[in-house]
């Protein structure tokens, strides 16, 4: 199992959440102190460099107008890391191409990073979460269609080497497309796309791209992965390779129960901090009408992550892996078997106020004591055996989909 170290680069030094309505979109940036921000960028870049040295892969992402993730331009972070690291694969998950107006610019940025890093780029594309609609000034309606048109344009730009071509699509038009540089990897860097439902998994599987699922946990992971596997089998006539599926969870490893718990509680800031009102979490056209109606009526979450998530509950759902190395391995193995296997763990290993030292301690324990066992586990993967393991675990029942999960349903 390849494991990717990931932090959202939060700016956690905020006033009491009671004093503001939303941590996203319209929280005034007077709360952002650039001096502290510069120190934070140093820390986050140092953590990614440490991941490179420890043998972990690297993942970055981007959001806009939010204290939860102060990386509005992930390619800039990845450009720095392309030069400052030497070994790790570099995953951007991802470029919000449904919301960006110039796919060719994305193709160029990614080709540059691929060349600078000598072929270490893993290029993700995402539709984006609902709160991105206002900052991007982009109606989320038909977002998936825009994503796929931009995807097609970017892939063609990466793989056309005999002079310019034109692309006049429904949403994106360019003339004389002929990017310099072209990617280092041939025919192009591996592509990842986030999915949140069996339906959105289908085109990703048909393209044979790697599909990443965030925080769906036990309640939904089978349905989503099964949607991918079924579509992959139909499109390619073969079972889904393990490395086509990825899962993102919060992870903290401690050398004893207390340090593990303290660290996990700090990483849980990712969920506790996400105070977002309905006007940002339920923009028109992001969710289907029935889901939007449930959010409007309060029957269903969508107003950001729950403000009071409990660690035990989030662990039970498979959204957080936390404990000693033995415990964390067992937790991951259990979800891995329940899910029918996946090849990548996207490890949100830092959030909120978790310090450099605290984060690094967890990363070291993970790489020393958990990672080798995970690699053995995936090396032993056998689809038939997996089916048996899976049958031993009946579908787990959970209460109605949680608040935070709604934004990943797409």
């Amino acid at each position: 199992m390849q494991t990717w170290f990931f932090t959202e680069d939060a700016y956690p030094y905020l006033p009491d959440a009671e004093t503001y309505r939303s941590i996203r979109v319209n929280l005034p940036n007077r709360y952002y102190d650039p001096e502290k921000g510069a120190d934070l960028y140093d820390m986050y870049l140092d953590l990614w460099c440490a991941a490179d040295e420890l043998g972990l892969e690297i993942m970055v992402n981007e959001h806009h107008q939010t204290a939860t993730c102060v990386v509005p331009a992930a390619p800039i972070m990845l450009g720095i890391l392309a030069r400052q690291t030497s070994r790790a694969r570099l995953l951007i998950l991802g470029n919000p191409i449904a919301n960006r107006t110039q796919p060719i610019r994305v193709a160029e940025e990614m080709a540059m990073i691929d060349v600078i890093s000598r072929g270490r780029l893993e290029c993700g594309f995402v539709r984006s979460v609902p709160y991105e609609a206002a900052p991007a000034n982009m109606l989320p309606f038909r977002g998936p269609e825009r994503l796929w048109e931009a995807h097609d344009m970017i892939v063609k730009a990466w793989t056309t080497h005999d002079g310019p071509f034109n692309f006049e699509g429904r949403w994106f038009q360019s003339r004389q497309i002929n990017i310099w540089p072209r990617p280092y990897q041939q025919p192009h860097p591996p592509i990842w796309i986030t999915i949140g439902s069996a339906g959105s998994a289908v085109p990703v599987a048909q393209h044979g791209h790697t599909a990443a699922v965030f925080l769906a946990g036990y309640p939904r992971i089978r349905e989503i992965y099964d949607g991918y596997r079924k579509a992959y089998q139909t499109a390619h006539g073969t079972v889904t390779p393990l490395h086509r599926l990825a899962y993102c969870a919060l992870v903290y490893v401690g050398d004893n129960a207390k340090t593990a718990r303290d660290g996990a509680e700090k990483v849980l800031w990712y969920m506790t901090s996400n105070k977002v009102p309905l006007e940002w979490s339920n923009p028109p056209g992001y969710h289907p009408p029935a889901v939007a109606a449930q959010i409007m009526s309060g029957q269903r979450g969508g107003a950001g992550l729950p403000l009071q998530p409990k660690l035990e509950e989030q662990m039970a759902r498979g959204n957080v892996f936390a404990g000693t190395p033995d415990q964390v391995f067992e937790q991951i193995k259990n979800l891995w078997e329940y899910a029918g296997g996946f090849g990548h763990l996207l490890m949100m290993g830092q959030a909120g106020f978790l310090s450099y030292d605290e984060t690094l301690a967890s990363m070291r324990l993970f790489t020393d004591e958990v990672y080798p066992r995970l690699k053995e586990l995936t090396a032993s993967y056998d689809p038939e055996r997996m089916q048996e393991l899976r049958l031993r675990q009946p579908d787990r029942e959970f209460v109605e989909i949680e608040a935070f999960a709604a934004e990943f349903v797409r």
């Binding site: 109606l139 009102p277 056209g285 939007a292 109606a293 449930q294």
Partner: protein, 261 residues
């Protein structure tokens, strides 16, 4: 709220099964609803049918209907209704549009007035009179839900309470919101080219406005009026963005004194 809509038929235009409520008798009146969806069950609508042959299509995307694949926004709605008037072959029609339906009506009129007798715009959007940093039209997609009734109603207690809606009604409300955003998202609720085209409107035009409209204010209405040659503006007191709902009698008086001659 009734679940069965009366006098609704469908007409196939551009491959779209367009639902049209058609009721009443008299000269034809094409009624284009606003972002809140069709209002054919309200008293003002019934009153209109006593004086007009009211033709009230339901914009694609509203009331649970799908947004056609080939639609990209307001311009498609405009050409759909130009096609509708041709298909019905109506003449001397009164074109009445509310809010975003008023914008659609103005866009229709700048293209072709040959079938129109007159134009009535009610708290219409469609222009942007202020500078680039002035929010001429309140951003209803960026406001807390509780901030919106005071913008739309003189008496916000008259606003529908979502808590009293059934799940099906809420789903319709959610799909109406998607459709409204689809037609109005960017540029927000206006067409920057419209002011340069409004001079083409050569039929008598009446702008009816709620004095307390907080979405598009009376000063916005005055700017609109100045852009249309043969136009008058009447202000209805104690009404917001929906004077036809808050002051139906006054609203009807203005429509009739202008149009029913």
């Amino acid at each position: 709220m009734d679940t069965v809509r009366e006098h609704v038929s469908t007409m196939t235009l551009q491959g779209i099964e367009l639902p049209i409520v058609r009721r009443g008798s008299g000269p034809p009146l094409l009624l284009l609803h606003g972002g809140g969806g069709p209002q054919d069950r309200l008293p003002f609508f019934h009153q209109l049918t006593l004086h007009f042959d009211v033709i009230a299509p339901i914009h694609p995307g509203f009331d649970g209907s799908p947004i056609p694949d080939h639609f990209d926004g307001m311009e498609d709605l405009v050409y759909l209704y130009l096609d509708l008037m041709d298909a019905l072959d109506v003449h001397d029609i009164t074109l009445l549009g509310f809010s975003m339906g008023g914008w659609a009506a103005a866009e229709i009129a700048v293209r072709n007035t040959s079938r129109l007798a007159q134009l009535i715009l009610v708290d219409a959007v469609g222009i942007k009179p202020g500078d680039r940093e002035t929010r001429d039209i309140a951003d209803i997609f960026g406001l807390p839900a509780s901030d919106i009734p005071p913008l739309l109603f003189h008496d916000p207690s008259k606003a529908p309470n979502p808590a009293e809606l059934t799940e099906d009604q809420l789903t319709i409300l959610a799909s109406d919101r998607i459709a409204l955003a689809f037609y109005t998202w960017e540029p927000y609720m206006h067409n920057p080219k419209l002011p340069q085209r409004l001079h083409r409107i050569d039929v008598p035009t009446l702008l009816i406005w709620g004095a307390s409209d907080g979405l598009v204010t009376v000063s916005y209405a005055e700017a609109y009026r100045q852009m249309i040659r043969a136009s008058n503006l009447v202000i209805i007191p104690e009404a917001g963005h929906l004077p036809q709902v808050e002051q139906p009698e006054l609203f009807l008086d203005h429509v009739l004194s202008f149009a029913a001659h």
